[in-house]
């Protein structure tokens, strides 16, 4: 037996026919904002649930001149972000960056960058469960009908029950939104803190769910409204403290456990935002205590 040699892969891994199929799904998704467009998701060389949908969307839209940024939990250096960035650097040989402002495509899992995106940029979300109604109704046959009939009462009942039980809506991420007044959409498991950034975003937002074989989109300058009630308006998270590294306020923070005696620090989840601020001289209360070399 000879060890088989596997032929070279096409630019950005997927063959051109597959990219064409995915681009068609993307165009349809853009034409019907918030609608979950079925597509013939391919098996990818990374596991389902690890970004195969986002990777397929990125692979279909990326060109040799693009500059790619990949984040996971807001950070460029988390393991899966590193892995996906390396994948595209290898199969598409594109320029990669950690700077939000320099990227033409930002692939993300669970966060929207703090720095507002601009026209011409594309934000690609990795989506595990695209169906916002899934945990209220497990059957795809049912939920598709509910979307078709704009039958979203179940979701409002769920949110109402939260209020009845807890006094407020107890959904903190995956917080449902309505796009352009029609489709209720799952923003992917971003914290609800990020929901307002989706509204009237200048960037195109594409969502890829590989295992569930769905693509959806929010075109630039679209209305994206988090579901709520008149007497219980939507409220994003707020933090009491600024980032301990860069002093930023009104950003999403990660809680880091410093010791086993209850020591905690809060730092920017968006590493690029934090680094950029520190480079400009901003300092948080613990910035001096962290050895820079270790990073």
């Amino acid at each position: 037996m000879n060890t088989p040699s596997i032929a070279a892969y096409n630019f950005a891994y997927l063959d051109e026919q597959t990219k064409r199929m995915i681009r068609r799904a993307i165009l349809k998704a853009i034409a019907i904002p918030g609608y979950q467009t079925p597509f013939a998701s391919r098996e990818m060389p990374m596991p389902y649930g690890w970004g195969t949908g986002g990777v397929q969307v990125t692979a279909s839209i990326i060109g040799p001149d693009d500059v790619l940024k990949v984040i996971d939990q807001g950070a460029d250096d988390t393991t899966n972000a590193v892995s996906i960035r390396k994948f595209f650097a290898k199969v598409a040989n594109v320029a990669v960056t950690t700077r939000t402002g320099e990227a033409t495509i930002v692939q993300t899992r669970h966060r929207i960058p703090e720095e507002p995106l601009s026209e011409g940029q594309i934000l690609v979300y990795q989506v595990p469960i695209p169906e916002p109604l899934r945990f209220l109704e497990p059957r795809e046959t049912e939920t598709r009908t509910m979307h078709a009939l704009e039958e979203y009462g179940l979701m409002h009942v769920k949110l109402y029950e939260d209020i009845a039980r807890h006094g407020h809506i107890a959904t903190t991420y995956d917080y449902p939104v309505k796009v352009e007044g029609r489709y209720v959409m799952d923003p992917s498991p971003t914290p609800k803190f990020d929901n307002p950034k989706m509204h009237m975003s200048k960037a195109l937002q594409l969502f890829g769910a590989g295992r569930e074989k769905r693509i959806y989109a929010v075109p630039p300058y679209s209305r994206v409204v988090s579901l709520d009630f008149d007497d219980h308006p939507f409220e994003p998270q707020t933090f009491d403290k600024p980032c301990a590294m860069c002093g930023a306020e009104s950003v999403y923070l990660d809680e880091v456990i410093l010791d086993d005696r209850g020591g905690r620090m809060f730092v920017c989840s968006d590493t690029d935002h934090c680094e950029t601020r520190r480079a400009k001289g901003h300092r948080g209360e613990l910035a001096g205590e962290i050895p820079e070399a270790a990073q």
């Binding site: 037996m1 990818m44 389902y48 649930g49 195969t52 996971d72 590193v82 903190t172 962290i290």
Partner: protein
């Protein structure tokens, strides 16, 4: 501490180097060859080919080696390679009646045309660990007898002559390709069978078993199981006869199930079908049980059990999808967890500040 929670390229590279080291193991022990894996762990290779949906023993053996014997990981490797292969075309349906039979048994007839042929099987072995296998002891050559050339018709064809069993579905339509579409429910049987053929053996085994224990009973009999090689024929443009592209080894199970009949249909036996690459009776039988259970609606049976629920069975039968999504939970989820931490802290603060009677009310 802050740095430790972050990953980084160096850590990933080092982890992969360690993986390669552990895969190789003790350097004083010779490395496994692909011939050894394909030749001596043939049923592992068969499972990887079946659920990887790619018939290539050599690549499957490589996948088994690369995955350190983790068969779902090996299936994943083979799938990720298969997906990059271009489609030349679709073969004609294989003719299992013309199979070069290695094993063929029927549980419904004591003897039948073509006979019962045990072939190589674990059935009737006593499961006693064999110390002789711990060393490289010589193994006797098997007996071979020349085939008599007689046909081995399928049991379902024999029963079909009397109209006792439902006929084959009408053929001729272009079959769907599960890997090239976004499947929708309800699904046609061709796609459903594809999904089951790629589906996880353990999942199908448990579901098939559940039908035997009363969760969607189908009263099954093994009409027959046959294992052997069939020819793959392809129609080529410009040729008015099919061309044989190669041979593959298959296990086919025809399950014969009871059906009482209805106002529309006279009483007759119904069928469940299992077909997998290589040699795997367990998978083929389980697949046939589940296929029949999933046809409940066709026969006007009540859909009450998990094995009869198409969306539930098919949406969760793919082990590459399942393992990916289950294992993705080890990816970082700090931002979502942070959101939940905040919520739980806020709710605890509310709880602590509320008077006792209000708490009791809230709990009710």
């Amino acid at each position: 501490m802050y740095v430790a929670v972050k990953g980084g390229e160096k850590a990933i590279d080092a982890a992969h180097r360690l993986l390669a080291d552990r895969r190789r193991g003790d350097r004083d022990v010779p490395a496994l060859s692909l011939e050894q894996i394909a030749g001596q762990l043939g049923l592992a290779v068969d499972r990887v080919m079946a659920e990887g949906s790619l018939f290539d023993p050599e690549l499957a053996a490589l996948a088994v080696k690369q995955s350190r014997g983790d068969l779902i990981e090996a299936i994943f490797l083979l799938r990720a390679y298969r997906t990059t292969l271009s489609r030349f075309g679709y073969a004609r349906p294989v003719d299992t009646a013309a199979m070069l039979i290695e094993r063929r048994i029927s549980a419904t007839f004591k003897d039948l045309p073509g006979g019962q042929l045990l072939g190589s099987t674990f059935d009737y072995t006593h499961r006693l660990l064999d110390p002789a296998l711990a060393t490289d002891e010589a193994v006797d050559a098997p007996d071979h007898r020349a085939g008599d050339g007689a046909a081995t018709p399928r049991v379902t064809d024999l029963l079909g002559d009397e109209g006792l069993i439902e006929p084959d579905a009408k053929g001729g339509a272009e079959p769907g390709d599960l890997t090239r579409i976004s499947p929708e429910f309800p699904m046609d049987r061709d796609l459903r069978l594809q999904a089951l053929a790629r589906g996880d053996e353990g999942w199908l085994l448990a579901l098939g078993y559940s039908t035997q224990r009363g969760y969607g009973r189908t009263h099954p009999f093994v009409g027959e199981i046959r294992i052997g090689e069939v020819e793959i024929e392809i129609d080529m443009p410009g040729l008015d006869f099919p061309v044989v592209a190669g041979r593959i080894r298959l296990t086919e199970c025809q399950m014969v199930n009871q059906f009482k009949g209805s106002a529309k249909e006279p009483p007759q036996f119904t069928r469940g079908y299992g077909l997998v690459f290589g040699q795997s009776e367990r998978k083929a039988m389980a697949m046939a049980l589940v296929d029949r259970a999933l046809r409940a609606r066709d026969f006007g049976e009540d859909v009450v059990a998990p094995a009869q629920d198409e969306e539930f069975v098919i949406a969760h039968c793919d082990n590459v999808q399942a393992t990916g999504f289950v294992e993705h939970l080890k990816l970082p989820h700090y931002v979502d967890f942070q959101a939940e931490l905040q919520l739980v802290r806020a709710m605890r603060a509310e709880w602590a500040s509320a008077p006792e009677d209000e708490r009791r009310e809230a709990a009710e």
